[in-house]
Symmetry: C2
């Protein structure tokens, strides 16, 4: 843990203030060095009161993601968030993580960007990622699974997102198979799963996650307003993005452990409860092919099992789902 991570951790743990001497002893550095770091944190937008009786006290945090602060708030996890990077802007966080993956960086690293110039959705579609309005991030994982089981990771990510958003914002999103998170029928978050593999072994998976957090309705491009929303637009309350980010990483870490420990069934059960696609008649566009049927359940690899009009069960890996009225 870096000095900043420890100082921010201590300030957050002691809401009534913590003395410079106490911080200095705990961190094994001088009081002057503590003071210098406090100045740096203030420059980053942290509002820190100081006084002879209260010591240092955190009274306000900037609307900006800060890697040291996220690490301090996250605490210990199994895998996800061992290391966190925050970029002010990048092309796509998936691209950054892919470079790390190819440099053999170990799994669990998380890369956030305050904005993306080329944010991607599925099938090469654009994902609009304006500065500080959302959480745009990617996670490197190296699960011991076959490529065909990679859909499990998308399923686990969706359940973790629903739990985190629900706990954070008090509104429970629904899931549209395979990768959309909706509030009131409008898209609030999406997951892009990319993988590199041999035929029988995943080398790495990159989970790309985009969450619309603090957009007002007016801030969405006109053509997206009917289908997209943000947590703020849905709840009427501005959200602390750092707090939400930390909750998501913790929930993801929990579900990733479940996947790796062979507990996919439990994840799938939870997913099924939240999924509005199951039990509905749907049409699915897969490339040139259009399939219609009843969405019955997930199989053990996370694929959708569709009962077609001819009565047989088709395993669907991906595609664009439209729910029939």
């Amino acid at each position: 843990m870096t000095i900043d991570t420890q100082i921010l951790g201590a300030l957050r743990a002691n809401t009534n203030g913590v003395s410079g001497m106490e911080l200095a002893q705990k961190l094994g550095i001088s009081r002057a060095a503590i003071w210098a770091r406090i100045q740096e944190l203030r420059a980053l937008g942290y509002e820190i009161d100081a006084g002879p009786h209260i010591g240092y006290r955190l009274v306000g945090v900037p609307d900006a993601l800060h890697a040291e602060d996220l690490l301090a708030r996250l605490g210990a996890t199994n895998v996800i968030g061992r290391d966190i990077h925050v970029f002010e802007a990048t092309t796509s966080t998936n691209d950054v993580v892919e470079k790390l993956a190819r440099d053999n960086v170990r799994e669990g690293v998380v890369v956030f960007a305050e904005s993306q110039t080329k944010g991607r959705g599925r099938l090469g579609r654009a994902w609009v990622s304006p500065p500080r309005k959302g959480l745009w991030f990617s996670i490197l994982l190296r699960p011991p699974i076959r490529p065909s089981a990679a859909t499990r990771m998308t399923i686990a990510t969706a359940t973790a997102l629903v739990r985190a958003i629900s706990a954070h914002a008090g509104v429970t999103p629904e899931i549209k198979w395979p990768n959309d998170i909706l509030i009131g029928g409008k898209k609030v978050a999406g997951v892009l799963t990319e993988l590199s593999a041999e035929l029988d072994k995943v080398k790495y998976i990159i989970l790309g996650i985009g969450i619309n957090v603090n957009h007002t309705t007016a801030e969405f491009p006109a053509e997206l307003r009917k289908m997209a929303t943000s947590i703020r637009a849905a709840t009427g309350r501005r959200q602390d993005r750092g707090d939400l980010a930390v909750r998501i990483l913790r929930e993801l870490d929990h579900d990733y452990a479940r996947i790796c420990n062979g507990q996919f069934e439990a994840v799938a059960d939870e997913w099924s409860e939240r999924c509005t696609t199951l039990g509905r008649r749907v049409t699915i566009q897969m490339g040139d092919r259009l399939i219609e049927g009843a969405a019955e359940s997930l199989d053990r690899d996370g694929a959708l099992l569709l009962r077609t009009e001819h009565g047989h069960l088709e395993q669907i890996i991906g595609g664009d789902v439209t729910i029939k009225k």
Copy 2:
């Protein structure tokens, strides 16, 4: 087509010789320029006779792969071999092609290396690739298939390799599922299929192919002699590697077209005839898991269907197969 590709093409097409004037007219350059290119080709090891009556005549080719010459001999194909690169040495030709893939190079490019310092087999195993003893090359493809159908590409590659080696060397290899080509029970070639994908769409596939061509038995490391062979060791005849390479690319181009045109069944039928794994009792090691059963057939994605002792059919994507006596 480059000048060298055209000159070598004309020399190969006119085994009795072709005049400098004829070449100059055909290529639209001066006779002096033709003469300069002939000197360059001689420096590369091409033996080219010249005389007032015969003109230029190709009497010997070097035991070296030359991109221009391979392009000249290959002629027109649908996809594979549109562009060819030859490296004297590289880490792994799959690594080179992966860089090209990420630079959005279009499919069909082929990269050969005369030797690889870090040649790879499946599951991160080493592939020994000594200078000029074999064909070590990789091909970039962008087939419109789901990740789970990537095994089809390995199946197609194996059938193409068997046809090419059989036509070239007069000895018909057998196939051991999923990626080994054997002569007399010893490994003569292997295929490493790597892919980059979204959940429902392959972004690119890299076919890495290694063929032991001109090793003598003594040239194999002692620990490999029992399980590995070369075409030369198996036939007693030194092979023209360029000729074999061109045949393979042509056969692969044919089978790739079959895969893309929905004719996988025909490829699978041909594969099944050559495969010594089908119809046998086998044990398959998949990571920690050991499965035993009868190898029955391929499914439509190219996976092996194994009838286990409990009587049900398991779909096997990869693993190490041992055939039971």
